[in-house]
């Protein structure tokens, strides 16, 4: 029998991949720094388990935890099993769980201790030897941010930043820097050791289905693009409201505040995805080029402009869910006269042809009346209201609302006639909800992002120039607030939608959406 069209050696594409939902991931060893920490136990390990359960991990996969607590390998595995059983979105299969963890190793020590890097090298080499090939290596830094440059430097010093015939990547958790200067410094420190294509700065919001759906909605539908500009859009509101307080995170939060915690990363990423130009292809650099362009079009305020475009506040005692809760300054670990903001609202403008004159309002806060993350695009009113009639709320501007949580979905408000003999109009919603429109359960954001990092796909990660652009927008506000030591910080009652002062950011006729 003769060949019809033989596969030539020149073919670089794997012909077996066509049509598969789950793309191959090369054999990998994942090293988690901070493996005994909260993030690792609540998110990373359950995400790894779910990937294993679904057969999405590489054919050879090894995990090494690095932490300061004293554990033997066996004891470490027991803690991992416990976390997966508690936090996984599905009940673990004992055989898969055992397969995932039976070779898991633990390296104990301080992150600046040379010995742990020697032990890490030995363990990784041992895994390579057992596998009979070089495994790709992913170093996941789930530690306090001050250790990021330390760990990267030490990895470089022992040569773990590169590998012959295998890929090496480093994943950096947030916060990436404390301000523009520290972010630049951290970028420089990382880029001293790793190439940019090896660095994966994680923002787990980008792994959420609704956030990715923002791009699908904009770039896979002809319906929206014609109105996606200053001619039709009146303003945009991006809200990330939480009903909880700071919990046990006072140590972190006192230094971060709402602006650094949510606005600088998640909320500005949402703004970038909402306003960027269509990328020519959905790949890492073309997408991030477009995000960078639009972030650079947001003109950072001068110090004396900050007061007019940014509001900060702290929660005071109040009632949330029927229970009395303390004010921020009464929380454990918070300074009596703390000036850290638990609420921030901003008005930003994107200075380009598409968006000139459209205000973008961002607000985030803790201890607000409910938990809600959404992007609301409010269109302009129709120019002539011939249909309006008394006895109804009348015609309202159309709104397109992307809900990120709690119920992921999209709704469009439209004016519709109220049944009856008169021409009365009221807004009604057309709704799309994941729960009613898809069979699949959305994977956790970390599942997608860990897999992407192992595959080397940086599309949903933040590039160095992008992170600096994000900080450039926020830096003057942080500086102005830092310099202002005299004025009092507005207080808002816990369980309410936030401080009245935020209303001053809005243009006449505009109002914050109800939480």
């Amino acid at each position: 029998m003769s060949a019809t069209s033989p596969l030539s050696a020149a073919d670089t594409e794997n012909p077996l991949v066509e049509g598969l939902e789950r793309l191959p991931v090369h054999p990998t060893a994942l090293v988690i720094f901070g493996a005994t920490g909260d993030l690792a136990h609540r998110k990373l390990l359950p995400a790894l388990y779910n990937l294993a359960h679904e057969g999405q991990l590489p054919e050879r996969f090894e995990v090494i935890g690095v932490g300061r607590r004293t554990h033997e390998d066996e004891e470490f595995r027991d803690t991992l099993v416990d976390s997966i059983e508690r936090f996984s979105r599905r009940r673990p299969d004992p055989n898969v769980l055992e397969g995932l963890l039976n070779e898991a190793r633990y390296v104990q020590g301080s992150f600046d201790d040379d010995e742990i890097y020697s032990e890490l090298t030995r363990t990784l080499d041992e895994f390579d030897q057992t596998a009979g090939r070089r495994l790709d290596r992913v170093f996941y830094l789930s530690t306090a941010p001050e250790f990021f440059p330390v760990i990267a430097g030490k990895l470089g010093a022992v040569g773990l930043n590169q590998s012959e015939r295998a890929s090496v990547r480093i994943v950096i958790e947030k916060p990436f820097g404390y301000d523009l200067a520290s972010a630049r410094q951290l970028n420089a420190q990382l880029l001293d050791v790793f190439e940019e294509h090896q660095i994966f700065r994680i923002d787990h919001y980008l792994g959420k289905e609704t956030v990715q759906n923002l791009m699908a909605l904009r770039f896979a539908n002809a319906l929206f693009e014609p109105v996606w500009n200053r001619n039709y859009i009146d303003h945009v509101q991006i809200t990330a409201a939480e009903d909880i307080g700071i919990g046990g995170r006072a140590g972190y939060y006192e230094h971060a505040g709402a602006l650094r915690d949510l606005v600088q990363n998640h909320m500005l990423q949402l703004l970038a995805l909402l306003t960027m130009e269509p990328p020519t292809a959905f790949d890492a650099d073309r997408l991030r080029d477009e995000k960078l362009k639009v972030l650079e079009a947001i003109v950072p305020p001068s110090l004396d402009e900050v007061e007019a475009m940014a509001v900060r506040a702290q929660y005071a005692p109040g009632v949330v869910g029927g229970e009395e809760v303390p004010g921020y300054r009464e929380e454990d670990g918070v300074a009596r006269y703390s000036r850290t903001e638990t609420y921030a609202a901003l008005r930003l403008h994107v200075s380009n042809w598409r968006w000139a004159g459209v205000p973008f309002y961002l607000r985030t806060g803790k201890r607000l009346s409910r938990k809600l993350t959404e992007i609301a695009v409010i269109l302009k009113q129709i120019p002539h209201m011939a249909l309006q009639s008394s006895g109804s709320v009348g015609i309202q501007a159309n709104q397109l609302v992307f809900t990120v949580q709690p119920d992921e979905g999209v709704s469009v408000s439209i004016g519709a006639k109220i049944p009856g003999t008169r021409m009365r109009i009221r807004p009604v919603n057309m709704e799309f909800r994941y729960g009613t429109s898809f069979l699949s359960e959305s994977p956790e954001a970390y599942e997608r992002l860990i897999l992407d990092a192992m595959r080397g796909d940086a599309t949903l990660f933040t590039r160095n120039d992008e992170i600096e652009a994000l900080w450039s927008i926020i830096d003057p506000i942080l500086e102005a607030w830092k310099q202002d030591k005299s004025s009092t910080i507005p207080q808002y009652e816990a369980g309410t939608p936030g401080p009245r002062e935020a209303n001053a950011l809005l243009a006449p006729g505009q109002m914050w959406r109800r939480l």
Binding site: D11, L16, V96
Partner: protein
């Protein structure tokens, strides 16, 4: 899980549809946070005496159930329609959204099957895809439903003769997109073979495969042939019919550098589907994947004789999971199934 139920004897499709609409309206009025799922319709045609077994299989499909399931139970001698319509839901907590699913069971007679579309059409949700599954045969029902169906769910492993099963799939694909459960049983094997050969140093070995051995449950030869068909179509092997030789099916399709020995063996196994796959290349490398607890047991011998064994993790989906996956796949399109089907037909023994 809560349910609202309506039932009637000697009824009519319009009455069933009106009852469903009313059940949904009443439930939504009672709780606005409850909304009907709107993903796909599923029409299932079964023998009435086995409808409980099919209902159990659908139950085990887990979260991948249709928005509206219309179960047509065929009863010998019946001339009228009896129906039960159910709206099921879990009361949502807090501000969460609750999803309602609808199911209709219609008892009907064999004479109804030739015009089954006139019974089902009024009961379906418009504007969403309709999937048809007829696990007990009833080809006349499938034919009648052709104008309504977007996707046909079938299982080539359920027919005794794989060649006949593939011919049926080939014939019906002209009417609807085919989701073949026998094909879905090969998915983890295809994914793992693709991953194995994705490594740069192994990619070239794809053109040097000399032997392919597939081990399968006796009743799952269609799955085994589809896997062989997939590899041969993806790698452009020239195919020939496999023949029974030494207690196994074997043949020698050709590829660029020569023939490939393809053999299919039956294996003792409780679960339907494949038991193992071994691929051998010209340089002496062999890779073997074997079904095991918690995933696939992999064994590799490289060209220098060094051996490595490891576990490829993944939980078994079970037959309930396969059916659920079949329903989910109705919303997707796999461009490699039809070429694999065509190849499997050519490899099928006479």
């Amino acid at each position: 899980m809560s349910e609202d139920v309506w039932a009637a004897q000697d009824t009519h499709p319009d009455a069933i549809e009106a009852a469903l609409r009313e059940l949904l309206r009443e439930r939504h009025a009672a709780n606005e946070a409850l909304a009907p799922a709107r993903v796909l319709n599923l029409i299932v045609v079964v023998d009435r005496e086995w409808k409980g077994e099919i209902a159990n299989r659908l139950e085990r499909a887990g979260r991948y159930h249709a928005s509206r399931t219309v179960l047509c139970a065929v009863e010998e001698g019946r001339t009228t329609l009896d129906a039960v319509a159910t709206v099921s839901y879990e009361e949502p907590k807090g501000s969460a959204l609750g999803v309602m699913h609808e199911s209709v069971e219609i008892d009907l007679g064999p004479d109804h099957l030739r015009a089954l579309q006139t019974i089902c059409d009024p009961v379906l949700v418009g504007e969403i895809p309709t999937v048809v599954w007829s696990p007990h045969g009833h080809p006349e029902a499938v034919e009648a439903l052709c104008p309504l169906m977007d996707v046909l769910l079938l299982d080539s492993d359920e027919m005794d003769d794989p060649a006949e099963a593939f011919a049926r799939a080939e014939r019906l694909r002209k009417h609807a997109y085919i989701v073949d459960l026998a094909w879905l049983r090969t998915t983890p094997w295809r994914e793992r073979l693709a991953a194995t050969f994705d490594l740069p140093e192994r990619l070239e070995a794809l053109s040097e495969i000399e032997e392919l051995e597939i081990r399968h449950r006796e009743a799952s030869m269609a799955s085994a042939l589809l896997l062989a068909g997939w590899l041969s179509s993806r790698l452009h092997w020239e195919r020939s019919q496999l023949r029974l030789w030494d207690g196994r099916l074997a043949g020698q399709p050709g590829q660029g550098n020569g023939d490939v020995i393809v053999s299919l063996h039956t294996a003792e196994q409780e679960a339907p589907g494949l038991a193992g796959v071994t691929v051998a290349c010209a340089d002496g490398t062999t890779l073997s994947l074997q079904r095991g607890e918690g995933g696939l047991d992999a064994h590799e011998r490289d060209s220098e004789g060094a051996e490595h064994a490891w576990k490829i993790l993944g939980a078994s989906r079970g037959e309930g999971g396969i059916l659920g996956e079949g329903i989910r796949q109705a919303l997707l399109r796999d461009p490699t199934y039809l070429p694999s089907l065509e190849a499997a037909r050519e490899l099928s023994p006479a």
